[in-house]
Amino acid sequence: MSYNQEDEEPFGYSQMPVGSFSKQLGYGYEDDNDQDPFPGAPMSSDNKPRILLMGLKRSGKSSIQKVVFTKMSPNETLFLDSTPKIVKEDISNNSFIQFQIWDFPGQIDFFDHTFDSDTIFGGCGALIFVIDAQDDYTDALIRLRQTTTRAYKVNPHIKFEVFIHKVDGLSDDDKMDKQRDIHQRANDDLQEAGLDITFSFYLTSIYDHSIFEAFSKVVQKLIPQLPTLEHLLNILIQNSCIEKAFLFDVVSKIYIATDCMPVDMQSYELCCDMIDVVIDISCIYGALEDEATAFDNKSSSTIKLNNGTVLYLREVNKCLALVCILREENFDKQGLIDYNFHCFRTAIQEVFELKENTKQKPSKYLNDTGLSNGYMQGPAT
């Protein structure tokens, strides 16, 4: 089977030798792709979904990618040069979030016939379209419409996300106006084109946590186990009198799940900052000389704030951390909370194992049925 061969191929930009022709890039005419009976099926090995960052030039795609995934300081992004090629970043530091970020150059039209759009959009999980809110967005909306129409044709399973970006310079009223306007016009376009797509809109900026939050929500849609995880978190907070609990990816500070309570931006920022504090402290004082990890299975931290709230952090696995916010008086029974956490961790590990087991089934089966991206079916709980 051709899939098996492709499965063995090293995947990802970083592993390719300089100068080699990337097959995934889809330039030129590749014969084997033309014969692909299921163009919607992904080419990647473990159904790793892709998140495509698209949009007009200078809308901030590379900045988002750099700030969220490579920890670049937002001010530094001013000095990024334009991206000439599709830059791929592999995010595979834990078993729940495994995906690729593809950062597109805004100047090139990838729906041109010289590019193989099947390969580019076939295995794609989500398409983030970035609109510069500080600029005139008429052109951006035209491009958005073109992009969605064509991408939908290639792969109807793509989730479309629109980031109304660079809102840091706008007043709150302005933000709302722009969002409403963009929302209205984009949806009108969709209706006109007769497409059954729903956009999700986010107001983002790299200068605050909004970009992380938006990305969290995008990523969560790609996690098939999300309902299970949310359910587990709900049980945990109910039984431990916790106000809010986030399951964080420590490296990117994206939260991959939270309980059913509404997310308050401030509490999210607080949790992000706490992770930073913990990592920084343990980097300086905790890690032994030749140990690179600042976060391991003993990592845990409690921070008491003077307004009567407690932040409590526990390691779940090597990339995930649970961060909880609770009232100080409820933290009295820390033993109970720890026990509940222990149960929670065991449950999460079970979910992982289940995922591992399903992965061992021949993946081509999944491919052939078209339910390929993994996130289409979650394990029953």
Partner: protein, 593 residues
């Protein structure tokens, strides 16, 4: 790899400079392509230098326009009258976007391009913004996109090779130019070489990379100058921006860095594209001169293999040949010039040196032998037969004449009789050279042969005496060698016809047949030689492979392939002319047995 004499195939390549424009993405900026002339219809009015077409000469401008437009479509372009050429239309190449910003425009609309003429090779090098031919344009455009967008390793500069038979093969050299007004302080460029022939392109890699690198370094140095100058007044990265958490500064930055800029502006070089045209033209021309493709017409002859080996020798021993030349220039008085020019057929540099030296001193009136038949006619059958016999068995042939040109022509004529590997030639020497050094020796008239040579039997001396000057022009034109005395001296009594090798008989027949054109005779000789080379190979294998062989065995073998005892001497001599490739091959295989 086999090379064989055949048609020369001209190189087809396009050199283009591409740019990743911040507004428009990958764009072809400037592109130089050669146009090979098929029939000589271009008026010779165009001088051999570069000219800015429109600026200098309106006729030329139209001409180039017509060339570039029609040449590719039909092999014989029709020249329209100058009025009918639409000069305004030249900008709108195939699928050319209307929006070209300063950054992705190389030539102003008043200058459609540049043309350089190589009158000798009949090639025109035309530079323009982009190829005008539709298909070429899409090929180059695609190569451009790939070179700047997919086959690029961010932050890395340097060469890369990609392509396939559909999209052509491309060598791309990516590089950055510093620019204060650009995002990130630099802009991405690439120079691409697009060719049909993968092997040719890869073989030219070292050459191309070296020279593209030079071009790039030059551009970067120019851009750096401008960059540093501007950075002093307007630093691209204000020192305090890192500590500034509020994005107020960003606005300023954003508006400032959106400026697009032409390459001329960035490098501060007004004549940038003109000199680029010259560089590109040179690279294209030198690259096509560097490697000559030859069509293979049948398996290579032993001669062509020997030629190839000698060529390689010369290339490998380049330093050696060079020092020899310098040495002989120093000692021109003391030792003979041609001494060092131990004339291995391929060391043409040395030849031309001696040629020039003697040509200038020689009289134009002196006739030369153009081919073997002329020599045959002049010498008469008997002498020629003797001489040819000596040549074939490898005796030293010494030529003494008044004129270097005659000497050279005689030797050149005679060497046709032998396989190339057997010819060791010294065209001119003041003193006698030993026979192990050369089997053809042009000797000064004033030098007498040493005694040991005169005593030996293995030499033949050709002596040409010039006639007493005569004014009879008419006679001269009928027979150029009227009055010349060509004499043959040998160290042994004339050999009888029966002892001559069989091959000589065949060769003589061909040479003597007046009805045959000389070209036919030449091919015929090659054919005969090749036939006998094969016999030589058999004999070589026979002697090397089986250890001791008795006289009887050898005789039997000779009988098998139709040679007799008389041929043995010639065959043995010819064995020395086998290519080392064949010899090595034989030695290795015979060892295995």
């Amino acid at each position: 790899m086999y090379y064989c004499s055949g048609k020369r195939v001209s190189m087809n390549a396009i050199l283009a400079l591409c740019h990743f424009c911040e507004q428009h993405g990958p764009r072809v900026l400037f592109c130089t392509q050669p146009f090979h002339e098929r029939n000589n219809i271009i008026p010779a009015t165009i001088s051999n230098d570069t000219e800015s077409i429109a600026a200098n000469d309106s006729i030329n401008s139209e001409l180039s326009e017509v060339i570039s437009k029609s040449r590719l479509k039909s092999p014989t372009p029709k020249f329209t009258s100058t009025e009918s050429v639409d000069t305004a239309g030249h900008n709108d190449g195939p699928s050319m976007a209307k929006d070209r910003c300063e950054g992705c425009r190389s030539l102003q609309s008043s200058v459609p391009g540049y043309v350089s003429n190589d009158l000798e090779a009949k090639v025109k090098y035309v530079s323009s913004q982009q190829p005008h031919h539709d298909q070429l344009y899409s090929t180059v455009r695609q190569a451009c996109i790939r070179s700047l967008s997919s086959e690029v390793c961010l932050g890395r500069e340097g060469p890369i090779f990609f392509g396939d038979s559909d999209t052509r093969y491309v060598l791309s050299y990516t590089f950055y130019l510093q620019d204060t007004k650009s995002r990130g302080g630099r802009r991405l460029y690439s120079i691409i070489v697009v060719m049909m022939d993968k092997i040719y392109l890869l073989n030219s890699w070292p050459f191309l990379v070296k020279h593209l690198q030079n071009i790039v370094k030059d551009l970067q140095a120019k851009a750096k100058c401008v960059y540093e100058e501007e950075d002093k007044t307007q630093p691209i990265r204000p020192p305090n921006v890192r500590s500034c958490p509020v994005p107020t500064q960003r606005r300023l930055q954003r508006s400032r860095s959106s400026a697009v800029r032409s390459m001329v502006d960035m490098t501060g070089d007004e004549t940038l594209f003109k000199s680029l045209h010259l560089s590109f033209t040179w690279v294209l021309k030198a690259c096509s001169n560097r490697l000559t493709e030859k069509l293979l017409e049948g398996p290579p002859t032993e001669d062509s293999i020997v030629d190839l080996e000698k060529q390689e020798e010369v290339v490998d021993d380049f330093v050696l040949v060079g020092t020899e030349k310098i040495a002989d220039q120093d000692n021109q008085e003391t030792s003979s010039v041609a001494d060092s020019a131990i004339a291995i057929g391929a060391a043409m540099n040395s030849f031309s040196l001696t040629d020039d030296t003697y040509c200038s001193s020689s009289n134009d009136q002196i006739p030369v032998f153009h081919n073997l038949r002329e020599l045959y006619q002049t010498m008469g059958y008997h002498s020629f037969h003797q001489l040819a016999h000596h040549v074939l068995v490898g005796n030293q042939i010494i030529v003494q004449t008044d004129s270097y040109m005659i000497t050279k022509s005689i030797i050149d004529c005679l060497q046709v009789l032998l396989p190339k590997g057997c010819c060791r030639i010294i065209y001119y020497s003041e003193t006698y050279e030993e026979s192990w050094k050369c089997n053809f020796l042009g000797l000064s008239k004033f030098c007498s042969l040493p005694k040991h040579v005169l005593d030996s039997e293995h030499y033949a001396l050709v002596n040409v005496d010039s006639p007493v000057p005569t004014n009879n022009v008419l006679e001269l034109s009928l027979n150029p060698f009227q009055g010349y005395k060509v004499q043959l001296f040998t160290g042994q009594p004339p050999m009888d016809k029966a002892s001559a090798p069989k091959i000589l008989e065949k060769m003589e027949k061909a040479v003597a047949n007046q009805k045959l054109n000389w070209l036919v005779v030449e091919q015929c000789l090659i054919c005969i030689k090749e036939e006998w080379m094969n016999k030589v190979k058999v004999l070589f294998t026979f002697t090397k492979a089986g250890g001791n062989r008795s006289e009887e065995d050898t005789k039997k073998l000779l009988q098998v392939f139709g040679a007799s005892g008389e041929d043995k001497k010639a065959l043995k001599f010819w064995m020395t002319g086998l290519s080392s490739q064949y010899k090595n091959h034989m030695r290795q295989t015979s060892k295995q047995i």
